[in-house]
């Protein structure tokens, strides 16, 4: 929408010519300049600029929908409304049927907790035929840290869905639906995203998994060396808006994994909260010393955040951020059939506990 050409908007010809003469070709160029600057640049009167801008805005503006029609659209788009069931019953209920389409869902947790295992299982579920609860489509798996193991996928498949995988040729068919990409750098990643953007709709891809996002952004020391703080955000910012537009445009679930890092200079408080003594801050720091990587801008951009953590000898998957679900934690274990829930009822956690990440290794 932003790249619509001004020449095609039906402005009066003299005005359109003036815009073109000043190299203001697309709507984006015209609307990025404040109106007073436009008047000076184009040498036009106030009324002419105002009516031209009003016309450009009217055409560039996206159409509206009432929320009722939005809901009805979602209801009619496939079973579960296009959602990807995770087959963890409690989690699916909390998420309203499964991982929703058209949004970014983030899986964050310490290393070794089971994020990749979860992604492998999700890719299998998306490939399964609908009669077994799957989405019957292809999966694109972008693996930045070489963690994808096809052997493990087959093992998960054989143990979770034995009736399918023991049928002749089905294992090959299922595994054949999962396409793995291994970009080595951020620029390769963005290139491959551009290429698959078109095929996302045409080739019935039902799920996009990026494992992991943090590996791409932080693993580029040379690019980041001489950057100021502002431009270090740039690759992340651009990737973010690109991913979000891909999600919107293709209406498929997108799952992204993220790493954790130790807290260094994490800001906690607003100036008006006053300093309740430095003791509060340090004790908070000691208790939960892991935070999600990629910063607060990323945290704002993802719509659903699932935190995986381990404490008291138990692993939990928590719904930390979601517009729809209450803050629940579900215990799970990882075994030969992937991630297995230990209980269907979630434990409700109040407050910020839902977002904290703990990792206490079980003694062997």
């Amino acid at each position: 929408m932003a790249n619509k050409l001004i020449s095609q908007m039906g402005l009066p010809l003299p005005i359109a010519n003036v815009f073109a003469a000043r190299s203001i070709i697309t709507a984006k160029d015209a609307l990025s300049i404040p109106e007073s600057d436009l008047m000076a640049l184009l040498d036009l009167g106030r009324d002419q600029v105002a009516s031209a801008v009003a016309r450009i805005s009217e055409i560039t503006c996206p159409p509206y929908q009432t929320v009722l029609s939005l809901m009805e659209d979602r209801r009619t788009s496939g079973c579960h409304g296009g959602r990807l069931p995770t087959l963890l019953k409690g989690l699916d209920e909390a998420l309203g049927g499964g991982i929703p389409p058209g949004l970014l869902t983030e899986l964050v947790g310490p290393s070794g907790i089971g994020k990749t295992q979860f992604c492998l299982k999700l890719s299998l579920i998306a490939a399964l035929p609908t009669c077994y609860g799957g989405l019957n489509g292809r999966v694109i798996y972008i693996d930045t840290e070489s963690k994808f193991s096809s052997r493990r996928i087959i093992e998960i498949g054989e143990n979770s869905f034995p009736q399918i995988f023991q049928t002749e040729g089905m294992a090959q068919e299922m595994a054949g639906r999962i396409v793995v990409l291994r970009p080595a750098s951020l620029s390769e990643f963005t290139q491959s995203l551009e290429k698959i953007k078109l095929s996302l709709i045409q080739r019935e891809v039902n799920l996009l998994i990026i494992d992991s996002m943090a590996g791409l952004i932080s693993g580029n020391p040379r690019e980041n060396e001489s950057c100021t703080r502002g431009s270090r955000q740039q690759p992340l910012g651009w990737t973010l808006s690109f991913l979000k537009s891909v999600a919107e445009f293709s209406r498929i679930p997108i799952v992204v994994t993220n790493q954790v890092r130790g807290q260094s200079t994490e800001a906690f408080h607003y100036p008006f909260e006053g300093l309740g003594g430095n003791d509060n801050v340090t004790s908070e720091r000691l208790e939960s010393h892991l935070v999600a990587a990629l910063g607060i801008q990323w945290a704002h951009a993802v719509t659903i955040r699932l935190v995986l953590e381990a404490h008291s000898g138990q692993r939990y998957i928590k719904v930390a951020k979601s517009p729809y679900s209450p803050p629940l934690a579900f215990p799970f274990i990882v075994d030969s059939s992937g991630i297995v829930p230990l209980s269907d009822d979630g434990i409700e956690l109040t407050g910020q506990e839902i977002s904290t990440i703990r990792f206490q290794v079980q003694p062997i």
Partner: protein, 342 residues
């Protein structure tokens, strides 16, 4: 006012100045054919004279009550404000620190860390504005501008159902008496949803709202969730960003005043290094922080969600505990809820 301040194009201004017309009074006795001697087309000359006469209507009108066009006495403004209703946020405590709720004709900014409940509050306001006039609401429609894609229609349905039931409970009505237009579906049909994918579309939409609101006069709230998202990623030139944001906030303020509705903007947080340590602050910079009338910051205090009224023209800063439940935004239910004045 000098000719140089008139909103006319630069070349016309140059021609007027070079011909010796420097003040408005010098133009007041000129006719269009005389101006057209300056190599200006006749129609353009008529337009220039029209613009200059608008600007000096001050001197032309004598004996009029107005000092200048568009002014209002403080007493008139007070009576108008008292006649306007506020939009309830769903939590009585939060309404009380806001002076009854979200005000019409004002721009309110709501900021907070991810997951604190900004989108929830936005959806709650889009529903609560529709509570009929007889039940204490405004009976108006809502525009929801979604820039992040975090709006979920099913959640809006949930909140609508709960809000309708609570309204009826408060007024002691029976369930059987709920008329058709107060079902949750009709509440959802009154929310106009726009999905914005870039800052160009955001600017275009805010420009277009002028026209849209003339066609839909019963819209009483415009919610933008969030106003920050697209401005954080794509701008390289921060000075341009500040100017664009300034223009946008000016337009929003004009919309609020012209159509008597409330504008609610959601903002994200960022970290800022002041006084030797990192603090949380709302995004988009210091210049933006001047552009809204009211500011509310949602934050975590221990395990509880709190709202702090950071900026308001006449209410004092205060913070209050609230909660996000399955029904939407409600009062906190714990024993130790209290309103703390700062």
């Amino acid at each position: 006012m000098e000719i140089s301040c008139l909103p006319i194009s630069a070349s016309h201004r140059a021609k007027l100045l070079s011909a010796g017309y420097t003040t408005l009074s010098s133009l007041s006795s000129v006719s269009p054919p005389q101006l057209s001697h300056l190599n200006v087309a006749l129609q353009e000359a008529v337009d220039i004279l029209k613009v200059s006469s608008e600007s000096c209507r001050v001197e032309v009108q004598d004996g009029a009550v107005e000092f200048c066009k568009g002014a209002q006495t403080a007493w008139d403004m007070l009576s108008e404000e008292q006649a306007l209703r506020h939009i309830s946020t769903g939590s009585g405590d939060l309404d009380s620190i806001l002076g009854g709720g979200i005000h019409c004709k004002e721009v309110t900014e709501i900021g907070g860390v991810p997951g604190i409940g900004k989108t929830q509050l936005g959806i709650q306001l889009a529903i609560n504005v529709q509570i009929p006039y007889d039940f204490g609401g405004l009976g108006g429609k809502a525009i929801y501008i979604d820039t992040e894609g975090s709006f979920m229609a099913e959640r809006a349905y949930q909140i609508a159902e709960a809000s309708i039931l609570d309204t009826f409970d408060n007024f002691g009505c029976q369930l059987k008496e709920i008329p058709e237009k107060l079902k949750a579906e009709s509440f959802l049909a009154n929310i106009f949803y726009f999905r914005i994918c870039s800052y160009t579309e955001q600017i275009a939409l805010i420009n277009y709202l002028d026209q849209f609101l003339v066609e839909h006069k019963d819209v009483k709230i415009v919610i933008i969730d969030s106003v920050t998202f697209h401005f954080r990623q794509d701008f390289d030139d921060l000075a341009l960003r500040t100017r664009v944001l300034g223009g946008m906030s000016q337009k929003l303020m004009n919309l609020a005043k012209k159509f008597s509705l409330s504008v609610v903007l959601m903002n994200q947080v960022t970290t800022k290094f002041t006084e030797g340590s990192f603090h949380l602050t709302l995004a988009l910079g210091d210049s933006w922080s001047h552009s809204c009338t009211n500011r509310v910051i949602l934050y975590w205090n221990g395990n509880d969600r709190y709202a702090y009224l950071d900026k308001s023209p006449y209410l004092r800063p205060a913070s209050v505990h609230f909660s996000v439940t399955g029904k939407g935004i409600r009062d906190a239910t714990s024993q130790c809820k209290r309103v703390r004045m700062m």
